[in-house]
């Protein structure tokens, strides 16, 4: 194994330890990842912008602090990729949309500030579906991202860039955001770990809003412990976000280190399976449940009858909020402006700007949401969706009286081919069938790799859902599963991924 291989395939936890011990420098680690990005990103297109100089400067600063004897956090000096939905002062932020092309935020999001404070080194910004609206990263205004397992397939979405960067060894860690599955579904189809914390545990301040009541940022990583370490860094109360919860962050790192599921009651959601689910997905899900059972967990079957309405509910509430959140992109203050010829009235400039700047999916959701909130339709659409949302939350409450966590497949199928679902929005939306309920109820949820589907050899994700604030249980289950399955596979799932052209990874 070459040295560069060890630097880019190591876990974030290992890198953090070795940097703190001054066995390796943060600058070396960052440089190795920048090299891997250069070598592989033409094929993957995970990044929209790479912040080379600032990353190296941040790495050098961390090295200097460590050399001066400072004791920093466990991830100090470790590189990270950030979804291009988070404002990072001085670096262009596009939300994957042409309408924000060229905009450089004058401030940083709370998550970015927490990363900086913890000494993490931001490599750059990753690709996403436009305003995080999509399940394949194909609605990005800057071209699609490719799945490192099979470059003809999508890495999921909206956070396909973050998941692809992590699974292509371009970064050991990434930040994603999850409104209906945008962390978990890409993690599932790229064989990585992705967690959506309880709504309100991670500040939304400075994260470009898609649907405010559903959006939540979270970690993407290659191991359960790495995800937990990152979770620990970004979670916590923020007075700048009114919806931020002022409560202690659950001991996610402790849970990831323990992985002790003896006596833990695991509820398998009966609604997620059958028609529309790939046989390999169902097979690996069952095996994961068996592995957990072997590790000492009690498995029960739990019905959440309203989950079948989650998709419809989501596609009323989310577009309603989108239609309002995306109003500000009108060409008046920042980003794209079209048709300002000195004659056009302001309304015309707004119309032309929005017509040109937004892609098809953004327009579709703006129009859907505008209808859902319109006089005469509000009660039937938005109003009844809110009622259903309450019923779904009650399903969770009832289920968590019978078990400690709920589990299901993370997504009904493995990675689909680029272009396969572009013309069929319903097929695209169904990618998030299993992940949406957790967003509607605001509970914690995560996806962990549980094997390859025999029919196509592509990764399958196993979803774990926890009660609100009990995010530690996600990592307890994830760590147990990881321990059982890596023992069975003789290594990590990602070790089975084909090598990318130009990659610095040598096996």
């Amino acid at each position: 194994m070459s040295d560069i291989t060890s630097l880019i395939t190591a876990t974030a936890a290992e890198l953090g330890q070795r940097i703190a011990a001054r066995e390796i420098s943060s600058v070396e680690v960052v440089r190795a990842h920048l090299d891997q990005i250069t070598a592989t990103d033409e094929a993957v297109h995970a990044f929209l912008v790479v912040d080379t100089e600032r990353a190296l400067a941040q790495a050098a600063a961390v090295d200097a602090r460590i050399a001066a004897g400072e004791r920093l956090g466990p991830l100090a000096g470790v590189p990270i990729a950030v979804k291009d939905l988070l404002c990072y002062e001085g670096l262009p932020t596009t939300a994957g949309s042409r309408i924000l092309e060229g905009w450089v935020p004058p401030y940083s999001s709370t998550v970015v500030r927490r990363l900086n404070d913890a000494g993490l080194v931001i490599l750059g910004k990753t690709n996403l579906d436009e305003f995080a609206m999509g399940s394949s990263t194909e609605t990005s205004g800057y071209g699609p991202t490719h799945n490192p397992w099979d470059l003809t397939r999508t890495p999921g979405g909206s956070g396909g860039g973050s998941a692809a960067a992590v699974s292509a060894y371009q970064a050991p860690l990434a930040i994603g955001t999850d409104t209906g599955g945008s962390i978990r579904q890409p993690a599932a189809v790229t064989g990585s770990v992705g967690a959506k914390p309880t709504y309100g545990m991670v500040s939304r301040y400075g994260i470009i809003a898609m649907a405010s009541s559903l959006d939540q940022a979270g970690p993407v990583a290659r191991t359960t412990l790495d995800a937990a370490l990152l979770h620990q860094v970004i979670a916590g109360h923020d007075p700048l976000d009114s919806t931020s919860i002022n409560a202690a962050v659950a001991d996610v790192v402790g849970a990831a280190r323990s992985g002790d599921v003896k006596g833990l009651r695991i509820g398998l959601v009966t609604e997620f399976g059958g028609e529309g689910y790939a046989p390999g997905v169902e097979l690996r899900t069952r095996e994961a449940v068996t592995a957990l059972s072997a590790a000492g967990a009690e498995v029960v079957e739990v019905s959440c009858p309203h989950f079948v309405h989650a998709l419809a509910t989501y596609y009323l509430i989310m577009p309603a909020e989108v239609s309002s959140n995306l109003a500000r992109y009108d060409g008046m203050r920042y980003g794209l402006r079209v048709g300002d010829d000195g004659d056009n009235a302001v309304e015309t400039v707004m119309r032309l700007t929005r017509g040109k700047g937004f892609g098809t999916e953004a327009k579709r959701r703006i129009i859907l949401g505008t209808y859902a909130l319109s006089a005469g339709y509000y009660d039937a659409f938005y109003g009844s969706a809110q009622k259903m949302r309450t019923l779904i939350a009650r399903d969770f409450t009832a289920a968590f009286e019978q078990c400690d966590v709920l589990v299901s497949p993370a997504t009904p199928t493995t990675a689909f081919r680029l272009g396969e679902r572009v013309a069929d929005p319903m097929a695209m939306y169904k990618s998030d069938l299993c992940t949406i309920p957790a967003n509607l109820a605001g509970v914690g949820a995560a996806s962990f790799p549980c094997g390859l589907a025999p029919e196509d050899g592509l990764p399958v994700g196993f979803q774990v859902m926890s009660p609100a604030l009990a995010d530690d249980r996600l990592y307890l289950v994830g760590a147990a599963l990881e321990r059982e399955l890596t023992a069975k596979w003789g290594g990590r799932l990602l070790d089975q991924a084909p090598l990318l052209p130009g990659t610095k990874v040598v096996r």
Binding site: C87, Y205, G206, I208, S323, Y329, L373, S374
Partner: protein
């Protein structure tokens, strides 16, 4: 048709929507200052500019102010309510939606009694809700109007300043007094927000802005007439005038068998209304609960605490002060006629001055200077405590009336406190008897004719000698004392 006839044939029905700009130090959702008059776009941040990713946080003082306003209007206070987004595109709104309240106002179901000509009218209050102000557009070219302008400039300094909207239910039974009930209600609101200290309450500055809804119902009919809404009526007099004008205008239309159009109208300086944009295309604001904010749930104990510390009702306070001070109705009326004078006089009296002296200072010398400077009385850079200090110097004989005016001039010029001005300008009355004696002797010597007359008992002739002494002393002498000295010497 004469006004009396309009009132005889029709019953006016009013509805008033008043926006109150709060005087909190910071904006509704961020820490930016609300100060008036900074450089354009200097009081802004990612939040009030609505930059992508920014989020609002409620200003607790604004909520407190709204509750205190609601309590003063005898409203119920919601135990749980939400903000809502009002969606529409306009360049002065950074987010292209206004955060307001929709069907869950913070305060609701109140009432206010307004007295006109010895009769009391009930003004029922529908709601008081919180919202944010927008930025300010300046249209360049094309006569400063949006249509025909070459381009427009936007200043977001006002964007996000907290506003309260106070909405009445329909007001019935006012008859001929409708205009005065409307302006009396506005006067009450103005006095109330000032007494609460929640707003500067200056109508001419737009701190209070009134939209006046008027309709007429034929007497004996229960059918509500079509209303007009006159926007941004910004003085008490204009509120009364706008009601009267609309009553007359609508009365003439209805009497001629016409139909009143439902429309928005503009108030013009000349005292008349003109049609604004007609609401053919009804706007659908697509209100929905603001997901970026948590519900407001005021603790009932806190509300009780606020209720217990409300200031005296402005009308009751006025009655009490009138009785305490013992002015004639006319003298007291003069005080009420000048905005802010009542508070200033009350504070000056509280600082130890007699009501008569306080009234004299504020209504004559200081009112004149405010007038000259083109500012409101309470904007003069002198405090009631300083006026009281000047009056105390005068009462002690440390300065005379003329010197006291000079002290005030010095304080207004920023030269410091009254004592400091007296010291730096050397304005104290000369009580040094030797210097006065010398001046008296010199004056007698210089005008033997006058001195002789005084000696002969023509005391009035002393005036010339007193004048000479005062002139010699550059006014810094106590004229009564000078007179005493002269008479003693010539007696």
């Amino acid at each position: 048709m004469p006004y009396d006839e309009v009132v005889a044939r029709f019953e006016p029905v009013l509805g008033l929507e008043v926006h109150v700009e709060l005087s909190t130090k910071s904006k509704m959702w961020c820490g930016c200052p609300t100060d008036f008059g900074g450089e354009p776009n200097s009081h802004v941040c990612p939040v009030c500019l609505g930059l992508p990713g920014s989020l609002p946080v409620v200003n607790r003082l604004a909520v407190e102010s709204a509750i205190r306003i609601g309590l003063s209007l005898n409203c119920d206070i919601a135990t749980w309510c939400r903000f809502a987004r009002k969606n529409y595109f306009y360049p002065d709104m950074p987010k292209d939606y206004q955060v307001s309240q929709y069907d869950e106002p913070l305060c609701f179901d109140g009432n206010v009694a307004v007295e006109v000509g010895g009769l009391t009218y009930q003004v029922p209050i529908e709601r008081v809700h919180m919202e944010e102000d927008a930025g300010k557009l300046t249209h360049v070219g094309g006569a400063g109007r949006i249509s025909g302008a070459d381009y427009s400039l936007i200043d977001y300094n006002r964007a996000g300043v907290p506003l309260m909207e106070i909405v009445t239910k329909t007001i019935h039974g006012t008859g001929a007094a409708a205009p005065e009930v409307a302006s009396g209600y506005m006067a009450f609101l103005r006095d109330m927000v000032r007494a609460l200290g929640v707003s500067h309450g200056r109508m001419e500055r737009g701190n209070l802005r009134c939209d006046v809804n008027v309709s007429l119902t034929p007497r004996g009919s229960s059918e509500l007439g079509t209303r007009s809404e006159t926007k941004n009526v910004n003085s008490l007099r204009a509120v009364a005038d706008a009601v009267r004008y609309e009553m007359m205008r609508q009365g003439a239309i209805l009497a001629a068998g016409g139909r009143v159009k439902q429309e928005t109208r503009h108030w013009n300086e000349g005292g008349y209304t003109t049609p604004g944009r007609s609401k053919e295309e009804a706007q659908d604001y697509r209100y929905f609960p603001e997901p970026d904010l948590v519900p407001v749930a005021p603790d009932p104990a806190w509300v009780d605490e606020l209720r217990a510390t409300l200031p005296e009702h402005p009308a009751l306070r006025r009655a009490r002060l009138a009785a305490d001070w013992g002015f004639t109705e006319r003298e007291f009326g003069d005080i009420l006629a000048i905005e802010g004078a009542l508070e200033l006089i009350a504070d000056t009296v509280a600082a130890g001055t007699t009501p008569a002296a306080a009234r004299k200072w504020w209504l004559t010398e200081l009112a004149r200077r405010a007038n000259e400077a083109g500012v409101a009385l309470d904007e003069l850079p002198i405090t009631p405590a300083q006026v009281a200090e000047v009056q105390a110097l005068l009462a002690d004989g440390a300065v005379n009336d003329k010197l006291a005016r000079q002290v005030i001039e010095g304080v207004l010029a920023g030269e410091g406190s009254p004592a400091e001005v007296v010291a730096s300008r050397g304005l104290a009355v000369v009580s040094d008897t030797e210097a006065l004696d010398a001046a008296v002797i010199a004056a007698i010597a210089a005008d033997p004719e006058a001195a002789a007359k005084v000696r002969d008992g023509k005391v009035a002739a002393a005036g010339a000698l007193i004048g000479a002494v005062m002139k010699n002393m550059r006014g810094q002498a106590d004229a009564a004392k000078v007179r005493e000295l002269i008479l003693a010497k010539l007696g």
